[in-house]
């Protein structure tokens, strides 16, 4: 009883993603996965899925798809709204659509990406223990590529008790959804243009005024920004230590400084190693904010300690586990 959708219009860049591919970093296989891991996880939780299951990452709007069977879907993120029968669909809650429903993505001016989950998760082969798409090398996700018109995406028919409970309650001959929704806003900081950063190992390679500039000036996201990384426009940073950094492990969230003093935030598809000195890394809890920044958006950095970043991470994980528990208790047959 797997569920199916077909892509009518794929949009700018639509890929299957999960929580990332970690086991092959030593072979220079990037982590990839959802750029906005929080939205990905919330979309999964809303249909009763586990966080690691695959969702579809849409970039902006201008896309549409058709339910080929009855489907239980959810979405989260700021890149678009789902529209069905001229009605805006609420985010972060399970949405039951009857077979034949045509769902469109329409513009949400706030962000870049949304994640579409299905009960059971989207079924694509596991490549190196992950369903994430890495387009540059053409593997993972749906045939190693972005989705195209006519592609049919199928859910795993192995759905868990929670998803079954949600489906039993919602399945009709028309659109239905429950009253509750997950509050994504309560998990995100109010100031969406300021991200918290932890200063990096090469911080003392930069001169003092440049460090102050980094922490006080406003930067804007350049057009040269994609799933690998974001180039920032703004005050160039000067170095007092001119030595070369031998290529070493890097990870999404790291802010590198290029030879010309330009800042680059590494994102999901970044290389596994890099040779530019690093000024800071974006706190894991604020990386989802970066994932929703579009070219031209402003960004500021505020410093926190490594310990604070870990406390924020634990707090976020705790809140997320409470959401899972609440939804499970509501729908499990006990």
């Amino acid at each position: 009883m797997s569920m199916k959708i077909s892509i009518i219009k794929p949009g700018l860049l639509t890929t299957v993603q999960d929580m990332g591919r970690y086991r092959y970093l030593s072979q220079a296989v990037p982590i990839s996965g959802a750029m906005d891991q929080l939205a990905h996880r919330l979309a999964n939780k809303a249909v009763g899925n586990e966080d690691h299951m695959a969702t579809i990452e849409f970039t902006y709007d201008n896309a549409s798809f058709k339910a080929e069977t009855d489907v239980l879907l959810a979405y989260s993120g700021d890149g678009a709204f789902l529209l069905y029968h001229d009605q805006l669909m609420p985010a972060e809650k399970p949405l039951f659509f009857p077979a034949g429903a045509i769902i469109k993505l329409i513009s949400n001016p706030i962000g870049v990406r949304i994640y579409l989950s299905v009960a059971g998760g989207w079924e694509v082969p596991d490549i190196m223990e992950s369903k994430s798409t890495y387009i540059i090398a053409g593997f993972g996700g749906f045939e190693g590529r972005a989705l195209q018109k006519g592609d049919v995406l199928t859910s795993s028919d192995d759905i868990n008790e929670v998803s079954k409970g949600i489906l039993d309650q919602l399945q009709r001959r028309a659109l239905t959804y429950p009253n509750w929704r997950i509050s994504r806003e309560s998990l995100l900081p109010q100031k969406r243009d300021t991200v918290r950063v932890v200063l990096a190992n090469e911080i003392n390679w930069f001169d003092a005024t440049s460090i102050i500039s980094f922490l006080t000036h406003t930067y804007t996201i350049d057009r040269r920004s994609n799933r690998m990384g974001y180039h920032l426009n703004g005050k160039a940073l000067l170095r007092k230590v001119k030595k070369e950094l031998l290529s070493t492990g890097v990870t999404p969230g790291i802010i590198q400084v290029t030879g010309s003093g330009e800042l680059v935030i590494l994102m999901a598809d970044c290389q596994t190693t890099g040779g530019y000195p690093r000024i800071a890394h974006v706190a894991a809890v604020d990386l989802p904010l970066c994932a929703q920044l579009k070219p031209g958006s402003e960004i500021r950095f505020s410093e926190i300690s490594r310990d604070e970043a870990e406390e924020l991470y634990l707090e976020r994980e705790h809140d997320l586990s409470l959401i899972t528990t609440a939804i499970s208790l509501k729908y499990m047959n006990i």
Binding site: Y22, R23, Y24, L25, S26, Q27, A28, V29, P30, I127, M128, I136, A137, G138, F139, V198, A200, N201, K243, L246, S247, T248, G249, V250, T251, P252, G253, I254, Q271, T272, T273, H281, A283, A284, R306, D307, A309, E310, Y313, L314, E317
Partner: protein
Amino acid sequence: MLKYDQIADMTEDETYFSSGYPVHMYGLSEQSVTIEFGAVINEELLSLITAFNQFLLQNPFSGLITTIPAYCTLTVYFDPLMVLASDLPGIYSFDKVSAYLKKLGETRRMQSDTLSNRFVIPVCYGGGMGADMFAVAKANNLSEAEVVERHSSVLYTVYMIGFVPGFAYMGGMDPSLATPRKEIPDAKIPAGSVGIAGMQTGIYPMETPGGWQIIGRTPLKMFDVNRKQPSLIKGGDIVSFKAIGIEEFNAYSGR
């Protein structure tokens, strides 16, 4: 799995962290720590990092996900929630992980436990397979035959895999072949291309843009997602090149 308090205290010579290289650890992100062993490229440091990496993977702490060896560093990824639930000393996951790594680094180093494979890579040099062969020969005042002879007559050490999946950075090249990378990178370098950049040589596992000087091409699949270990070679391996003709190259590709 090794228990933290079962790791023997060994502060004599020959431990991983007392090999004459200053060890420094730093948090890279909430889920990774980097061990820096120095700031030079040499084979002694490479074998130290390779050996410590293998020792760590054989004796993981609870929550270890994976590692990335590089020229002078080993980056260790972990699940903070699992690390925090462990009984390692410290409050934060960085403290716990670095305490474990330090203890492991202070155990006696096994000299014979490093597994490195040897590979002979067939390469069709020059012509349509090595677009920059002429430039490399000219830059070093050599004939193309001399470039082939010198490139295929030594053993190379794989320092690390980086840039794109399966791309091996190899050292040990004859210094008379050293050629700077291109000022303007090529938009498309074919899969299998063998290139030179400075004192290093490397193989492009897939078609990508790149700035290395291309002298030949191998018919081998350097990276294949259908293999158990997708990357043919790994850090610490030993590689040599064997010159082959176009017929042999085509015979490989036809397989």
